[in-house]
C-alpha cells in the first residue's frame, strides 16, 4: 500500500494493489459511518489494472490512516460475525428439518 503523506495527515489517498470493488466499496461504506471522517470515496484508475484509490479526509480528531485501520477492523468484525451466525443458522436449520433423502 502506498500513501501520499507521512503518518499524521488528515487527508490521504491510499493506492491499494491487488484489490477491487469487493473490498474497496465495503471499506468506503464503513469509513462513511465514522463520524470523524468527513469525506471518503474510491475509484479504480483502470479496470485492467488491479489498483484502487481510496481517498479519506478526516475532521482532525483521527488521522486518515487510523480511520482506514478502524474501518478494516469493522469489516473484520462483521465478517467474523457473519461466519459464526451462518454456521449457527445452518445447524438450526438442520435441526428443524432433518434430512430425508
Amino acid at each position: 500500500m502506498a500513501q501520499d503523506a507521512s503518518p499524521d495527515f488528515f487527508g490521504a489517498t491510499f493506492a491499494i494493489e491487488d484489490e477491487d470493488h469487493t473490498l474497496a466499496n465495503t471499506l468506503r461504506f464503513f469509513l462513511n459511518k465514522n463520524p470523524r471522517v468527513y469525506f471518503v470515496g474510491y475509484s479504480m484508475p483502470h479496470p485492467t489494472e488491479e489498483i484502487v484509490n481510496i481517498r479519506v479526509q478526516t475532521t482532525g480528531e483521527v488521522s486518515a490512516h487510523q480511520a482506514l485501520r478502524d474501518a478494516c477492523e469493522d469489516v473484520k468484525d462483521v465478517a467474523q460475525h457473519i461466519a459464526s451466525t451462518f454456521q449457527n443458522a445452518v445447524a438450526e436449520f438442520r435441526a428443524q428439518n432433518p434430512v430425508t433423502k
Binding site: 500500500m1 469487493t22 465495503t26 464503513f30 470523524r36 480528531e61 478494516c72 469493522d74 457473519i82 461466519a83
Partner: protein, 333 residues
C-alpha cells in the same frame, strides 16, 4: 495492538443476522439482515470469483478422429464440473514451496467406437486419478440415475485418446472454476397497505411478499381504482435474500463459508499492509530492543524510539520479531 496514542475506535453495532430458509447439497437460500449492501455484494463477488475449485486445465491429445477438433474438446473438458472438496489441500503451481504439494490431478480418456450406432463419450468415461479418487466429475456413475455430461458423439471408426491434468483455480482466472451456477441477492420488499383506504375496496390480499418487489402493476391498478395511496412498496435496504446455487462441485454452505473466510483473509492482509516487520535470529539473546533513529539523530547521537521486545509476544523459537505500522521511510535501525 495499537498502543496509547491513537483515538479510541467507535463501535458500530452492526451485528448481522442470518436465517437459513432452504438448504440442500447444491442450493442454499438464506436471509442476511442488519448489514449493508456493500457487504452483501462483497460476499457475492467472493463467492463467484474467489472460491477455489478444481477443473481440467491441460489436455494432451494422442488421437482424435471425432467431429470436434482438439481445442474444442479441450474447452469442453475444462468446463466439466469436478468434485472439489480436495481443492483446500491442493496448491496452485506458483504456490509450490517444498515440492511435495499436490498441484496436478491426472485424468485420461480412451474410447473408440466399434458399433454401428452412435457412441456417446460422457464424463463417466473419464478415467480418474487413483491417487485422488475423490476428485471425480459430478454424477460420476451416479447410482440414482443422474445422467453424465456428454463430451462428444462418435460414429464407427472414430477414436479419442487423451490425457488431462486438472488444477486448482478461481473464477477470476477462468469461468470454468466458478463454483456456482448463480449467486444472487435481492432486497427484501416491505409492503404497506393503508387500512383505511383499503376498507373502501373489496378484498386485497398479499400472497407472498417477494413476488411484489417491483410490481408496478399493483400500484397502477390501485391508481386505476382511484385509490393511489392504498399500497406502498418500499425496499428494506438492510435485508437481503441470498440464493446460492452450486454446480455440484462443492456443497452450497461450504461455498458460502469459504467465501466469508476468504473475505476475512483479505481484510486481514490489508490491515497489515503498510506495516513493517522486523526479525532477528539469536539463539542466546536474553533480551532484544529495537532502536529506531534517522540521519539527523545519528549526527547528534540520539535515538527516536527504543522499543524493548517482549520475551513471549515478540519471540518465536530463536527469532525475535515485531511488526510496526506505518513508519517513515527515512528511518534506520
Amino acid at each position: 495492538m495499537y498502543t496509547g496514542i491513537t483515538a479510541k475506535r467507535l463501535a458500530y453495532d452492526r451485528k448481522p443476522v442470518v436465517e437459513v430458509r432452504k438448504l440442500t447439497f447444491d442450493y442454499a437460500e438464506f436471509i442476511l439482515k442488519d448489514t449493508d449492501i456493500s457487504m452483501a455484494n462483497a460476499l457475492r463477488r467472493v463467492i463467484i470469483a474467489e472460491v477455489p475449485t478444481i477443473a481440467i486445465d491441460l489436455v494432451e491429445i494422442e488421437n482424435n478422429t471425432t467431429v470436434l477438433n482438439d481445442e474444442f474438446l479441450a474447452h469442453r473438458l475444462g468446463l466439466i464440473p469436478l468434485r472439489s472438496e480436495k481443492a483446500e489441500q491442493m496448491h496452485r503451481p506458483f504456490e509450490v514451496a517444498t515440492g511435495d504439494e499436490v498441484t496436478d490431478i491426472h485424468f485420461s480418456l480412451n474410447i473408440s467406437c466399434t458399433s454401428d450406432s452412435t457412441q456417446y463419450v460422457t464424463s463417466d468415461d473419464l478415467v480418474i486419478d487413483p491417487d485422488h479418487p475423490e476428485v471425480v466429475p459430478i454424477n460420476y456413475h451416479d447410482a440414482s440415475g443422474e445422467k453424465p455430461i456428454v463430451i462428444v458423439k462418435m460414429r464407427k471408426g472414430q477414436e479419442l485418446r487423451l490425457r488431462a491434468i486438472a488444477r486448482k483455480g478461481v473464477g477470476k482466472d477462468h469461468a470454468k472454476w466458478i463454483p456456482v451456477a448463480t449467486a444472487t441477492y435481492h432486497i427484501m420488499p416491505e409492503i404497506h397497505i393503508n387500512e383505511a383506504l383499503l376498507d373502501e375496496l373489496t378484498e386485497v390480499e398479499i400472497d407472498n411478499v417477494e413476488n411484489y418487489r417491483y410490481d408496478g402493476d399493483v400500484l397502477a391498478k390501485a391508481e386505476e381504482l382511484g385509490k393511489p395511496g392504498v399500497i406502498s412498496i418500499r425496499q428494506k435496504t438492510d435485508e437481503f435474500i441470498f440464493r446460492v446455487e452450486s454446480t455440484g462441485v462443492l456443497a452450497a454452505e461450504a461455498i458460502v463459508m469459504k467465501a466469508v473466510d476468504l473475505l476475512l483473509a483479505r481484510i486481514n492482509t490489508l490491515a497489515q499492509a503498510g506495516s513493517t516487520n522486523f526479525a532477528l535470529y539469536s539463539s542466546s539473546a536474553t533480551g532484544v530492543s529495537l532502536v529506531l533513529f534517522n540521519e539527523s539523530c545519528m549526527a547528534h547521537g540520539r535515538t527516536l524510539h527504543e522499543i524493548p521486545l517482549d520475551k513471549d509476544a515478540n519471540r518465536t523459537g530463536h527469532v525475535w520479531h515485531i511488526m510496526l505500522p506505518l513508519l517513515n521511510t527515512d528511518l534506520l535501525y
